[in-house]
């Protein structure tokens, strides 16, 4: 059945089309997925992914995770207890490691990382998972920084995930006012020059009435601790990474002015749940100018909302973010026509991610480059697509998350605000390639921790190596295995018992060069 013609003129079968969308809008096909998508219609599947209904498979998975039942306040309490336990253990790292509070917190962190990997494997609404990873990476927050150790789960669940297909503007504002981002990029420490917090003002009032040396030293202590000016960290990354892009035409003065606008955006201390709070005393009340636009003085938090909306709607933002989406869905150098179509859809839909993705998918170029398998998989994409390809299932055991970390992409642990790179330059090197081969061989032998699978349903045991390799080819490489690869695998399995031969063929298939591309 020929349904769609690529720009190059080669006709694609609907099975080809199904494989393209499953490799790009999802984490690769599971056994039977291609047939399922073909029979329901490729575009119908795409539309369903763009307007997802309740995902039962994901809900079942999530119910196994303890961390899903804990709210930010619960985690905050555990964080405070963990910090206290560490303080008491002081330099004794063994005592600290064995403390129940420390151990529980570490387990929860591991579970949290595994939840991301497990959802990517198990969820039916695959596009939601792909975009969750994309936005979490775009608005990167490092799990290792202070209060972010307990703020990240609510950042992922409440800030990012509900908005992955919504309007970019809403996502941007949600991240800006998220406690996790404010801690990560220090905005909570950014205050107007000379601002005096109420506690200090009160202490000073008291000391005016009754002079006492003790009160004076208390004031000195508070003074030493409080921030005494703006911190540009968030404002800079807001321009460079989150919105306009580094060539987006802003200046150092714009960064400083934006930082002034965002003074006062902060959080409560962890002991009080670490929720968003706007602190009037810390806000800079003066007039500001960003990108030539005047921000009238004295409007408090409203100035920040105005700034974020302006940046979200800026043409440079549309181009920057759409290009990144195209790199994610297509490859390192996405076709210009696809980027243009995405930007146009952004304009028409006021920044609806759903419409931008839809516009990218319906360009002829999206289908034309398909045959090239243009994108080198990131470690997350490689591990998840491998597990899906062999029909594996996963749960709370952190094995898959550990495998992804070994390949160089420990989840939520990128300390720098750029997030992980999407392009092949960042991932294709000799050590990482060996790790991929190791994971492939482990998985095929049924020895990748945390993965349940049965190769028998994928490739039934057979005495005939050729038909066995045919099945492996169809299951893992859409029947596109090169004659050379077939020859190499054929030689390797020669003389092996059928079960071993099958594991070896699957391991070589997953670890070989073709499966690294999507």
């Amino acid at each position: 059945m020929r349904t769609m013609d690529s720009a190059a003129g080669t006709a694609l079968t609907s099975a080809d089309c199904a494989r393209i969308v499953l490799n790009r809008l999802a984490y690769g096909p599971r056994p039977g997925d291609v047939d399922r998508v073909v029979s329901m219609g490729v575009m119908r599947w795409v539309n369903q992914q763009l307007d997802p209904r309740r995902d039962r498979a994901r809900a079942t998975l999530e119910s196994q995770f303890r961390i899903q039942k804990l709210h930010r306040e619960d985690l905050a309490r555990r964080f405070v207890a963990e910090r206290e336990a560490r303080r008491q253990a002081k330099a004794d790292s063994m005592a600290a490691a064995n403390d129940p509070a420390v151990r529980e917190f570490r387990e929860l962190e591991g579970e949290f990382q595994q939840l991301a990997a497990a959802r990517a494997v198990m969820a039916d609404n695959q596009l939601e998972e792909v975009l969750s990873d994309f936005w979490i990476n775009h608005f990167n927050v490092f799990l290792g920084k202070g209060a972010d150790r307990f703020l990240l789960p609510s950042y992922v669940e409440e800030t990012i995930r509900p908005r992955v297909l919504g309007r970019f503007e809403d996502l941007l504002i949600a991240t800006a006012e998220s406690p996790a981002m404010m801690v990560y990029l220090d905005n909570t420490l950014s205050v107007a020059k000379g601002a005096i917090p109420p506690q200090l003002a009160r202490a000073e009032m008291r000391s005016l009435r009754w002079y006492s040396p003790r009160a004076d030293s208390a004031i000195a202590r508070i003074r030493a601790r409080i921030p005494s000016g703006i911190n540009e960290n968030y404002a800079r990354e807001l321009f460079e990474l989150h919105t306009l892009g580094v060539d987006g035409g802003y200046t150092q003065t714009d960064v400083q002015e934006a930082a002034r606008i965002l003074t006062g955006w902060g959080i409560d201390p962890p002991e009080r749940g670490a929720g968003f709070t706007f602190r009037d005393w810390a806000h800079d009340d003066g007039e500001k100018h960003v990108l030539g636009v005047r921000f009238r003085a004295g409007r408090g938090r409203g100035e920040g909302d105005e700034l974020l909306r302006m940046l979200a709607r800026h043409p440079a933002t549309m181009l920057h973010v759409t290009t990144q989406l195209c790199q994610r869905f297509i490859g390192d150098d996405p076709p210009a026509a696809t980027v243009e179509a995405g930007v146009l859809a952004w304009k028409h839909s006021h920044g609806s991610v759903r419409e931008v993705v839809r516009a990218i998918v319906v360009t002829p170029e999206f289908w034309a480059t398909a045959g090239a398998r243009a994108k080198f998989k990131t470690p997350l994409e490689f591990v998840v697509s491998s597990i899906r390809a062999v029909g594996g299932t996963v749960g709370t055991d952190p094995g898959p998350a550990h495998a992804i970390a070994r390949l160089g992409e420990p989840l939520y642990q990128q300390p720098v605000p750029t997030g992980y790179v999407e392009t092949s330059m960042g991932w294709a090197n000799s050590a990482a390639l060996f790790e991929r081969m190791n994971v492939a061989v482990q998985l095929a032998a049924g020895r990748l921790p945390g993965v349940d699978m049965d190769l028998e349903t994928l490739v039934p045991i057979s005495d005939d190596p050729d038909s066995m390799i045919d099945r492996v080819d169809r299951a893992l490489l859409s029947g596109e295995m090169s004659p050379h690869a077939r020859e190499v695998i054929r030689q390797q399995v020669e003389g092996l018992p059928p079960q071993q031969a099958r594991a070896l063929a699957v391991g070589l298939g997953l670890g070989g060069p073709d499966f690294q591309q999507q």
Partner: protein
């Protein structure tokens, strides 16, 4: 020691006197060897090695090399300045951060040159861009595909390329080594290659994957795989798991110490290493950076102690090695509202090893006066990083054509900061 180069004594006499002086200071005599560092060609079978350490996150140069003789420094940094009585004085005006005491032995032997106010002509304060420029070697030009260290290897015709010619420690190949000359990324020499299965299975799998990648892979995937398979063969010969540091060297625990230990091992194995690269992160001290002790001090201690162990471990092999530290930019002269520092302009770098004209602070000091500060907030750049790197490439790594390594830069020896003996 600088003046001794003009002293009318024989080299041998100087060495003896120097040895006594150092022993009386309580220093390990093993370092004495290195007082005799000369720029002779490397011994047969040995190669000159350049080790680059990237302090990602923009290290505060004013805390590494402390201008303790400048009252403005203390005025701008009331809470984070390194007190003058804690800085390890170098020349009466500048001193090392006290956590860098591991570098003192090299300094005393004249094998360490701290370089002031190094940086990029580009104005960006973005970590990402500034690192990119420092690694591509083309500030302001984003389209440069390869890194300067790789370009240097491309043009070095002296030796035949070997797979271990350029090695970066870490899970990813850094931008500085991207390019057509072979380069390896290795996290741990002992765990490099196929590990699944027993020894027999391992070899079989390795051969099978090698055949798959030989024929099918293209571009960067193909070249990375080919280099990987060659490296596995070499490593089987040198047995990385058996390595023991020499001369009582103790590397600090952590990534940097482990990387430097493995670099030392590769140097001693004589398998063709010429360029080594390692990362040290954690320098982006926007909040609570500390002074003599604290966050930044902890990172500096790891740096200094790792380099001390490295020099000790290499012993007389250090004469073939130069270590260069670099960071994408420096930090604001004044402390910020959170007892830290924000992104600035110039920073400081270290050059250490054989042939280094050390024992003196190199680079021109631009001053801390607000009128002398760059954009009224940062230390100004007086040495373009390409002039520093270029000098090391020419005088240590044997580069003859700097225009190929730093295209678009007029690399004249007149602008070299003079960190190497000519």
């Amino acid at each position: 020691m600088d003046s001794l180069r003009f002293a009318p004594v024989s080299r041998r006499a100087f060495l003896r006197a120097g040895a006594l002086a150092l022993v009386s200071l309580g220093l390990d005599p093993l370092f004495l060897d290195r007082a005799a560092f000369a720029r002779e060609p490397a011994a047969p079978g040995r190669r000159r090695v350049l080790v680059c350490l990237f302090q990602r996150g923009a290290v505060d140069g004013l805390s590494m090399i402390v201008p303790h003789g400048d009252p403005l420094y203390y005025r701008e940094r009331p809470r984070i300045a390194i007190p003058a009585d804690q800085a390890l004085d170098l020349d009466g005006h500048f001193g090392l951060h006290p956590a860098l005491s591991g570098l003192l032995p090299m300094w005393r032997q004249g094998a360490l040159a701290p370089v002031l106010a190094v940086g990029s002509p580009d104005l960006t304060r973005s970590h990402f861009d500034a690192q990119d420029y420092m690694e591509s070697g083309t500030p302001g030009v984003k389209s440069t595909a390869d890194g300067w260290l790789n370009r240097c290897a491309q043009h070095a015709a002296e030796h035949k390329n070997t797979v271990f010619q350029s090695v970066a420690f870490g899970p990813q190949l850094p931008r500085i080594l991207a390019g057509s000359a072979p380069a390896l990324a290795i996290t741990d020499l002992r765990a490099f290659g196929i590990r699944a299965g027993g020894p027999g299975v391992r070899d079989k799998l390795t051969r099978a994957f090698e055949q798959l990648y030989n024929e099918s892979a293209t571009g960067i995937v193909a070249s990375s795989a080919a280099e990987g398979f060659q490296a596995v063969q070499t490593l089987q010969r040198i047995q990385p798991a058996e390595y023991r540091p020499e001369n009582g060297a103790e590397y600090p625990k952590g990534k940097l110490g482990s990387s430097l230990m493995q670099i030392a091992q590769l140097i001693k194995a004589d398998i063709g290493l010429e360029q080594a690269f390692a990362d040290a992160g954690g320098w982006d001290t926007h909040i609570a950076q500390g002074a003599g002790e604290g966050q930044l001090a902890t990172r500096l201690r790891e740096l200094g102690d790792s380099l001390e162990a490295f020099a000790l471990d290499l012993g007389d092999r250090m004469r073939d090695v130069v270590v260069l530290t670099m960071s994408e930019f420096g930090r604001t002269v004044a402390e910020n509202g959170s007892i830290g520092t924000d992104h600035g302009h110039a920073t400081a770098m270290f050059v250490m090893g054989g042939g280094v004209r050390g024992g003196r602070v190199a680079g021109q000091w631009p001053g801390l006066d607000p009128a002398q500060q760059f954009q009224g907030r940062d230390l100004a750049v007086t040495t373009d990083f390409r002039d520093l790197f270029g000098e090391i490439l020419v005088r240590h790594a044997g580069a003859s054509d700097l225009t190929a390594v730093f295209p678009g830069h007029d690399a004249s020896p007149d602008r070299f900061p003079g960190v190497m003996t000519a």
